[in-house]
Symmetry: C2
Subunit: 395 residues, 2 copies
C-alpha cells in the first residue's frame, strides 16, 4: 500500500468533535495522510508519504455522500420542466415518460449515461452515491437497472415501487405482488436497499408497507420517499419499520417531527427538488431543533431535480431550509453516511475511507457564500485522485 | 484573419428574431463561422474554415454579458455572510471592510485577484464584463481600481459614489465634492461609465444627482444602484437622467415600473444578491409585462453576491423572478449588452463580436433544468477559444 499526503491544509473538516474544534471537528494548518484507501492520520507538516498534494492553505472536507439519487435513466424531461416553470403543477406521473425512454435504451447506453452523471458528481466532490432503480417497472428492466447501478456503488436501492407500471394501471395490487415477488427476487442480489414512493398518486400506506416488508424479508434495508407533496403516512411508516431514511419530508405534522426525532431514521432533505418543482421547502430548523438527524442529497433525476450540484443543495439548505453552513455541510457528508448506515464514510478520521474534497476556498462557508460557483479543486476517493481541476492551482 | 467554424450545433441561439425562430432567433443543425474576432455567417454543414470545433449536437448561445460586477477588490467577507445567514440584517456599511482590505493591497495583488475572478467568469461562459471601482474611496485608490479594471474590459465604471469614505463620515457633502472633482478627473480617463449607490445609508437623491451630472459632464455614461433595500428615488433619477441602467430594482412602485417601461433605461436585476442577502426577489414578470427591458447580472462582489455563476442567476430568474427560460437567457446576453449600449455583443449575427458558449446540453433550458451544474463546455471570446472543458467531449 502506498501513502499519500495532502499538505498545507488551511482548514480541515474531520466531522469528529473529538479530533478538532466544534461539531465539525475542525483543525487548522495540518496534513492529512492516506494509506491505500483509508485515512491513516492527521499530522503536522513533514509527515512521510510516497506522494503528496499541496493544498496551498485551502479547505479540505470529507467527500460528499449523496444518499439519494436516480442516476440510471435515459431521456430527459426539459420540456416538462419548462412547462412547470410556466405554471403547470408537479405530479408523480411524469415518471412514466422516463420509463418509456429507459425501457427502450440498451444496457450499454444506460451504463454510459449513468457513468457520465457519476463523473459529473465526482467533479462536484461527491465520493459516494446511493443509486436507485425505478424507471423500468418490469422484472428484467428493474434487474438491469440494479445491475448498472451496482457498477457505480455498493449502495443500490431497488425501487420497483416507484410508480405502478403502466401495464398494471387498473390493477395496482397485482403490481405490488409482482414487485414483492418476482421483481424483488431478480433485484435483491445486486441491491442493498429497498425504497417505495409512498405518496398520493403512487403507493398508499398499505401497499408501501407490503413492499417494504417484503424487501426486509429479502435482507434489504429500508428507505421511504415520504411526505413530498403533502402530509401523509410515509414518515410514520418509515419510523415504525426502522427505515434508514425518510426522504423529502417537505410536509410534516408535529407528530412526524417527533417520530423522526425519537428514532434512528434520518430525515433526508432534497431542496433542489423543491427548487425545481416550485414546492415549499422543508423546515430543517424545526427538525434539527427537535433533535432529528438530517441528510442533504441531490435527488439527481430527470423529472424533479436533474442536478449533481450538492454545493447548490447546501446553499439552499442555508438560504431556504434555515440551516447553518456547518449543519448543511455535515448533512451532506456525515448525514448522508448515516442515512446509508455507513460508518466508514462522511468523516476524515483514522480508518475511514480516504474520501475528500479540496475546495478552491479557505473555508467551507464559501460553498454557501459563493453560490453556483464550482468550488471543488480536487476530489480524492478511496485514496485515489479522481478529479483535479487543471486550473485549480494545486500541485 | 483566420476563420473558425463551430460545426454540428444542435440548437443555436442568435438573439435575432429575423435570423431564426422566436424571440431568441433559434436555428437547428447549423454551423457558425467566425472570421477573426467577428461572426461571419451562420451556415449549413461543410462551410470552409481554417479551424473547426464539433459541437456534437450541443446548444450554442451568445456569450453571457455580465453588466454589473465589482471584480476588483481584496479580502473576503465570509464571516459577515455567515452572520447574515444566521439572522443579522444586510446593510450597505459592510462595504467598509472591503475598503480597508482593498486600500492595503498592492496593485499586483489586486490585478491577480481580479484576473482570477475574470477567469472563473470566463469558465461560466461570460465573455464580457462591466467592472466597477468603489472599494478605495480616495483619489489614488479609485484611479488604481479603474486602471486595474481597464485591463479586464472596455466597460469600466467609476463608482467613487459607492459609500461615503470613512474619513468623510461627518461631512458627506465634502466627499461628494471630492468625487465630482479630483476623483472623477483621476478616474474618467480609464472609465466609460459613472455609477452611484442611491440608497438609504449611502447617497440621497440630491447627492446622487450631483455625482451623476458631474460624470456626464466628464463624458461618462450613467448607471444607478437603485431601489435595492427599499423604495426610493434611484429609479426615477436614472430614468430622468437617461441612465443606461438602473440596477437592483427590488422595491418598485407602480410609477417606477411605468418610468422604466417608458424609457431606454434597462432594469438590471441581480437575483444572486437577493439570494445572498435574504432580501425579497424583484418581480421581473411585472417589469416585462409593462414593457421594460431587463438585464440579469451577477453583481459579483465580496459582500452581497460573491458569485460569477450567471447560470445560477438565470435559474433564480426563472424560479424566483417569474421569467421564462427564454427571457432569462436573453436578459443575461442581449439584455446585458443593451444595459451597456453595446450593439456588437449579446447576439450571434454576422458582424457581431464572436463571443459564444457551447453548453454541455442540447438546449438552453438545461441552464435552469440543471441548476448549479457547470454546463459550459467551451467559451469563445472574440473568436478565440478561451475555455475548453477537458472532459466536455468536444473535439
Amino acid at each position: 500500500m502506498s501513502t499519500f499526503a495532502i499538505d498545507n491544509i488551511g482548514l480541515l473538516v474531520t466531522n469528529d468533535p473529538e479530533l478538532g474544534e466544534g461539531p465539525l471537528g475542525v483543525l487548522r494548518d495540518v496534513s492529512l495522510v492516506l494509506d491505500g484507501d483509508r485515512v491513516a492520520a492527521v499530522a503536522g507538516a513533514g509527515a512521510q508519504a510516497d506522494a503528496r498534494l499541496d493544498a496551498g492553505g485551502r479547505c479540505v472536507i470529507p467527500g460528499f455522500v449523496d444518499s439519494h439519487t436516480h442516476l440510471v435513466f435515459a431521456g430527459d424531461r426539459a420540456e416538462e420542466f419548462a412547462a412547470r416553470m410556466a405554471g403547470a403543477p408537479y405530479a408523480a406521473g411524469g415518471i412514466r415518460s422516463t420509463v418509456t425512454a429507459t425501457r427502450a435504451a440498451s444496457i450499454g447506453e444506460l451504463t454510459a449515461l449513468a457513468r457520465s452523471r457519476r463523473r459529473e458528481a465526482l467533479r462536484a466532490g461527491i465520493t459516494h452515491v446511493e443509486v436507485k432503480s425505478g424507471y423500468a417497472l418490469d422484472v428484467d428492466g428493474e434487474r438491469r437497472l440494479c445491475e448498472v447501478a451496482a457498477g457505480l456503488t455498493g449502495d443500490v436501492t431497488f425501487l420497483g415501487g416507484h410508480l405502478v407500471a403502466p401495464e398494471y394501471q387498473d390493477r395496482p395490487d397485482d403490481y405490488v405482488a409482482l414487485v414483492c415477488g418476482e421483481m424483488l427476487a431478480a433485484c435483491a442480489p445486486s441491491a442493498r436497499w429497498i425504497d417505495v414512493f409512498c405518496e398520493r398518486g403512487a403507493f398508499d400506506a398499505d401497499q408501501s408497507r407490503t413492499i417494504l416488508t417484503a424487501g426486509r424479508g429479502a435482507g434489504l434495508g429500508l428507505r421511504v420517499h415520504a411526505n413530498q407533496l403533502g402530509e401523509g403516512p410515509g414518515v410514520q411508516l418509515a419510523v415504525e419499520l426502522g427505515a434508514a431514511s425518510a426522504d423529502h419530508c417537505t410536509h410534516l405534522s408535529d407528530a412526524d417531527v417527533e417520530a423522526l426525532a425519537g428514532s434512528g431514521t434520518v430525515a433526508t432533505l432534497l431542496p433542489a427538488t423543491d427548487f425545481c418543482t416550485r414546492q415549499p421547502y422543508p423546515d430543517a430548523r424545526r427538525l434539527l431543533d427537535a433533535g432529528a438527524t438530517i441528510a442533504l442529497a441531490t435527488n439527481c433525476n430527470p423529472g424533479s431535480s436533474y442536478t449533481t450540484a450538492i454545493g447548490f443543495c447546501i446553499a439552499l439548505g442555508v438560504r431556504e431550509l434555515r440551516m447553518t453552513a456547518e449543519e448543511a455541510l455535515q448533512a451532506a457528508t456525515l448525514g448522508g453516511a448515516q442515512a446509508l448506515w455507513r460508518d466508514d464514510l462522511g468523516r476524515l478520521t483514522p480508518g475511514s475511507r480516504a474520501d475528500a474534497a479540496v475546495l478552491s476556498a479557505p473555508s467551507y462557508t464559501h460553498i454557501v457564500y459563493r453560490p453556483g460557483v464550482p468550488l471543488v479543486a480536487a476530489t480524492i476517493r478511496a485514496g485515489q485522485l479522481e478529479w483535479l481541476d487543471p486550473e485549480g492551482g494545486l500541485v
